[in-house]
């Protein structure tokens, strides 16, 4: 509370000192759909001051009454809107922005104040969802996370994987928020696709460093994904069918202008398509059975505007992946059966209430629920005609469940200050892995139901924050903040005070120099096996024995907009991490021993340079991103305690993304990526040992002796993806055929390497290093209609 006091006093001061001014506030939205626009620039040319809309499209700007003439609103992809506010007193001004079509060739002369170099926030990238949808994708499935992997400072884990490694961090260090709710496992199909359905998404923003104080709980990045609110005026829909599945999205008004809804679902259909063949295959072996894999997800959102001051949003996400196998064989009057499955999925929900307390103070109250669950099991037994079934079943469940509440205040006393403060509390329920063993039998006393494994652990995470984005003078702008966090677990309370500062200084010729410093602390840990985005990842808390992960990061760089819309930035960063968690050598997942005995904690450091040029508008759009980076780890019981390269230490990482609108009917896109090969550990020698004593010895085993950890580099990775969209607009709908290919020139990109020893007919052995590649050229075709 002591921390909040200066801000409350400050608010009072601003109220008094700016009593002679007028305050204009309101929402900015898309004229056609009513979707709120996030980050829309609101600029007052007379005073050369401005602000931006918040996550809910709300803005507030306070001006001298004499100055007030025109307010300009601008947003990427929309026509600029200028509104005359002469003579207007304080009040509400809701603004509707008209979408700009590429071929209208409207000249946008962006004023200096609206350019990205004017923001204090650095290391942040917004990729318009329309651009993400045009990027050619593996199997034609648009993927938000894979699009983000093409940005500097962001890497993928491996071929086709959707995991994000941001500035040397690991995937658990990314705070992925879907409508403000953390999503714990963002993977479908073992990481080859992410859980985010692009058709339901309005906005994507990634923060890699210089974290504002309102964010906390993760070390490496914040990825904010906001779902569309739903068209508030007309009913619309999208349907698409592609190589692996199909999607359907419906949106429209519930009460015109007041409330709207959006529902979007997708499901893979390969299991349905192959089911007759698989069943026939079982039948030909004299049994009944089925096996397959599918995933589905559903996004839904409703919102209602109660008044100018109150809006309510309810959003939901549910998704599941499932492998299944079932077989039944009949023997006389009995049937033996076996079934096994592996399923994982997330469920999230958020109830948000936006309330404008007064024209300068905006409150968002959120209640959230998030759950990730992994479930795998096997059952086998016999069904009898006249007797109860005999059954033995083992089931393993692990996961995490969160209930959270938060209050976020946005206070804009004048154009020189944008103050945010708030608090949140999260109740975590960790399930580190429980086995359920069931036995059903007609034999008296032989039925059995037992539970083994780790104890479910509860923990409470708290946070308080306050930040002010303010102008020190006309050239220097600072975002100063403090994040206070606490974590209560095992009767132990951890507390942390995390200062955050970002600064922007305007240099001559339109350059801006930006610097930032942020400390972060993370109380929850992901225990993951390196390499694949397996659903077996375990989320675990900080405990009395396992310390919270911590980091600090410094970044500095220059930004400038060249020409009309070429945003160029260059940044350098250094990040130090401590108490990182990893499995001890060779530890396994399905073990009954305490997970705390299976992990080790260590340090990490990452540093590098990033170059980014982005063009968001016009017929040609896209970006070029280059990263030069170093990324090391140190664990006392690994590599003789010496620093070693992180597996995803990638010295060079280059992405070129381009989209070009040939005509209203045809657009093409392409991406080319290049990355230094992943670091892996290879054996350099081997020796024999005998595993029993005695005169005659025992079995000889050959042990491989490894060189330094991650001391070998796999071959560099490079790939070209291309795509073309044919769009045809009919009277009632627009249809799009999308064709493309992943890894167009079929480069043998390394997935993993291993030693293989061949023996010839004379018994001579030859050992070779083999490389396994995963994807050759993968073409895709997709059909979509929008109505």
């Amino acid at each position: 509370m002591k921390i909040m006091l200066p801000f409350l006093i400050g608010m009072l001061f601003f109220q008094i000192s700016f009593a002679q001014k007028i305050t204009i506030s309101g929402y900015v939205e898309d004229e056609a759909s009513g979707e709120k626009l996030i980050g829309c620039s609101v600029y007052h040319p007379a005073s050369k001051q401005g602000t931006v809309t918040n996550t809910y499209g709300f803005y507030s700007i306070t001006l001298d009454k004499t100055e007030a003439v025109v307010l300009e609103f601008s947003y990427i992809g929309y026509k600029e809107s200028s509104l005359d506010i002469s003579g207007q007193s304080s009040g509400t001004l809701n603004v509707k922005m008209k979408s700009e079509l590429v071929f209208e060739e409207i000249e946008i002369v962006a004023s200096r104040e609206k350019k990205f170099e004017n923001e204090t926030q650095m290391s942040t990238v917004d990729v318009p969802i329309a651009q993400i949808k045009k990027i050619p994708a593996l199997l034609g499935e648009t993927d938000v996370l894979k699009a983000l992997q093409l940005l500097p400072g962001v890497q993928s884990g491996g071929e086709g994987q959707a995991g994000l490694y941001v500035r040397g961090g690991s995937p658990d260090q990314n705070l992925i928020l879907l409508d403000g709710v953390p999503v714990y496992n963002a993977n479908h199909l073992f990481g080859f696709l992410s859980v985010f359905n692009a058709d339901a998404i309005k906005d994507v923003s990634l923060i890699k460093g210089g974290f504002p104080a309102r964010y906390g709980g993760r070390l490496s990045s914040v990825l904010e994904i906001n779902m569309k609110d739903g068209h508030s005026k007309e009913y619309h829909g999208d349907f698409s069918i592609g190589v692996i599945g199909s999607k359907l999205t419906l949106e429209g008004p519930i009460q015109k202008g007041k409330s709207s809804f959006l529902v979007s679902g997708r499901r893979t259909w390969l299991d349905i398509l192959t089911r007759p063949l698989i069943r026939q295959s079982f039948k030909s072996n004299g049994s009944e059975g089925d096996t397959g894999y599918y995933f589905y997800d559903l996004n839904a959102k409703v919102n209602h505007t109660f008044s100018q001051k109150d809006r309510l949003y309810l959003s939901f996400y549910g998704g599941n992946d499932k492998f299944y196998y079932q077989e039944k064989s009949t023997f006389g009057s009995s049937r033996d059966f076996v079934s096994s499955d592996l399923g994982w999925g997330n469920t999230t929900g958020a109830l948000r209430w936006n309330h404008i307390i007064h024209d300068k103070l905006f409150l968002n109250t959120t209640l959230t629920y998030s759950r990730y669950r992994l479930n795998t099991g096997v059952e086998q037994g016999t069904e009898y005609e006249n007797l109860p079934e005999e059954l033995i079943g083992v089931n393993y469940i692990s996961g995490i469940r969160d209930y959270a509440a938060k209050l976020d205040f946005d206070y804009v006393p004048n154009p020189n200050h944008f103050i945010r403060f708030g608090a949140n509390v999260i109740f975590h329920e960790f399930n580190p892995g429980v086995f359920n063993l069931e036995r059903k039998s007609s034999e008296p006393g032989a039925s059995f139901n037992a539970r083994y494994g780790q104890q479910i652990k509860n923990a409470t995470e708290l946070a308080l924050y306050a930040e002010d984005d303010f102008d020190v003078n006309k050239k220097w702008k600072v975002n100063l903040g403090l994040h206070l966090s606490g974590f209560y677990v095992d009767n132990k309370f951890y507390a942390s005070l995390q200062p955050r500062i970002s600064s922007r200084y305007l240099l001559p010729k339109g350059f801006a120099w930006k610097t930032s410093f942020a400390t972060m602390r993370q109380y929850i840990n992901l225990l993951a096996f390196e390499g694949l985005g397996l659903p077996t990842d375990l989320w675990l808390p900080t405990t009395a024995r396992i310390k919270p992960q911590e980091s600090w990061q410094m970044a500095t760089g220059f930004a400038k907009t060249f020409g009309k819309d070429y945003e160029v930035s260059i940044e350098a960063y250094y990040k130090k991490m401590s108490n990182l968690i990893a499995y001890k050598d060779g530890s396994g997942l399905f073990e009954l021993t305490d997970w705390q005995d299976r992990v080790t904690q260590g340090k990490g450091e990452a540093w590098g340079f990033e170059f980014f040029v982005q063009k968001k508008t016009g017929r040609l759009s896209g970006w070029i991103g280059y990263t030069l980076a170093w990324n090391n780890r140190q664990f006392s019981d690994v590599n003789e305690g010496r620093y070693f390269p992180f597996r995803y230490d990638r010295r060079h990482d280059l992405s070129v993304v381009a989209m070009y609108e040939i005509s209203k009917k045809i657009n093409v896109s392409g991406t080319w990526v290049y990355g230094t090969g992943n670091a892996v550990t290879l054996a350099n020698s081997r020796y024999d040992i005998v595993q029993s004593g005695g005169q005659f010895g025992g079995i000889i085993n050959t042990v491989e002796q490894y060189g330094s950890r991650n001391g070998y580099r796999m071959n560099p990775y490079h790939r070209l993806d291309v795509g073309i969209n044919f769009v045809k607009t009919r009277k009632k709908y627009t249809r799009t055929w999308s064709l493309g290919a992943y890894n167009t020139y079929a480069n043998n990109n390394p997935f993993f390497v291993y030693f293989e020893t061949d023996t010839d007919l004379n018994g001579n052995e030859t050992t070779k290093l083999k490389q396994v590649s995963l994807f050759p050229m993968i073409p895709y075709i997709n059909y979509a209609i929008k109505f």
Binding site: R439, Y687, V690, Q691, S692, E704, Q705, A746, F752
Partner: protein
């Protein structure tokens, strides 16, 4: 709609198949990795035995093929064995066996004895290892229960319970179950435990026990064995109970994890630890108690 799905699938299949020949597995040419030639000392000895057999060998490069375990032996190495600083004569062993040296102590080693093996060979750094003879732990009882419920795979099991008095300080044990075979010899029999103090090891090293969770207290350790009746169990089974060093505990666990990880490209490589100074391998002197079931 179904037609459309099949059309899409067909096109994808045709494009896909034309692009994947000889793609997935390729050979990478790399220079042989540099490694340091090192002496390997490999010995597991039981305290109660008069003669100790061991192997002095070398490591070979990962691309050095056709080097079997005999060729890697350094039988011309200069080897010495000391007990509490006193030298014992070392004799070569016929190389058809997996060991190439032995030493006769002329009697049991005593608790607290320090045994050192040193090995020298031109072209290799000197290697030496010291191991201390451990005292026997106090085993109070070993009981057998015919009906021990189900194991984690749903099979009916019997239960062997070992009650021990653990001494304060770090202690490590190993459990092996033996069954009398047809020709009077004992064979190792499978046992498992869900007790978190118990973990698996590689091959003949039994189940490993760490006293981390019960240091200095009396402890009952339950071991599940495939179900058998009490009469047979008493007649056929016996338990080997070992006191082992911390190194051997860590080494045996690492060895299991090492072999589990070698063929898994996604696992973190497991480096097998050594207690040999200047070399590789492992030297262990176990203290054995053979326990009859009650």
């Amino acid at each position: 709609m179904i037609k459309l799905i099949y059309k899409i699938s067909f096109l994808t299949l045709v494009f896909g198949l034309t692009s994947c020949e000889d793609f997935f597995n390729t050979t990478i040419d790399i220079d042989p990795p540099v490694y340091e030639p090192t002496i390997v000392i490999d010995c597991i000895h039981e305290k109660s035995k008069d003669s100790m057999y061991f192997r002095i060998a070398r490591n070979v490069g990962v691309f050095d093929n056709n080097t079997d375990f005999r060729e890697a032996m350094l039988s011309d190495a200069e080897v010495n064995v000391f007990v509490n600083g006193s030298s014992f004569p070392v004799a070569p062993v016929n190389s058809v066996f997996s060991h190439n040296f032995m030493v006769d102590f002329g009697g049991d080693l005593q608790t607290g004895d320090e045994v050192t093996i040193t090995a020298k060979h031109p072209g290799y750094p000197d290697a030496s290892v010291l191991q201390k003879v451990l005292p026997s732990s106090e085993v109070v009882s070993v009981t057998f229960k015919e009906d021990g419920g189900l194991d984690s795979e749903g099979s009916e099991v019997s239960l062997i319970s070992v009650r021990i008095n653990d001494k304060p300080g770090k202690n490590y044990y190993a459990f092996r179950l033996l069954e009398l075979g047809l020709f009077g010899s004992y064979n190792e029999r499978y046992a498992s435990s869900i007790d978190p103090s118990v973990s698996e090891s590689y091959q003949n090293n039994g189940l490993l026990i760490s006293d981390t969770g019960f240091d200095g207290t009396e402890k009952i350790l339950d071991f599940q064995v495939p179900q058998m009746n009490l009469e047979s169990a008493l007649a056929l089974l016996k338990v080997e109970w070992y006191d082992i060093s911390e190194h051997h505990y860590v080494f045996s666990r690492a060895l299991l994890n090492h072999f589990n990880s070698v063929d898994n490209p996604f696992s973190t490589p497991v480096q097998v630890p050594t207690n040999v100074k200047g070399g590789l391998g492992s030297f262990e002197i176990k203290t054995l108690q053979v326990l009859e079931l009650e």
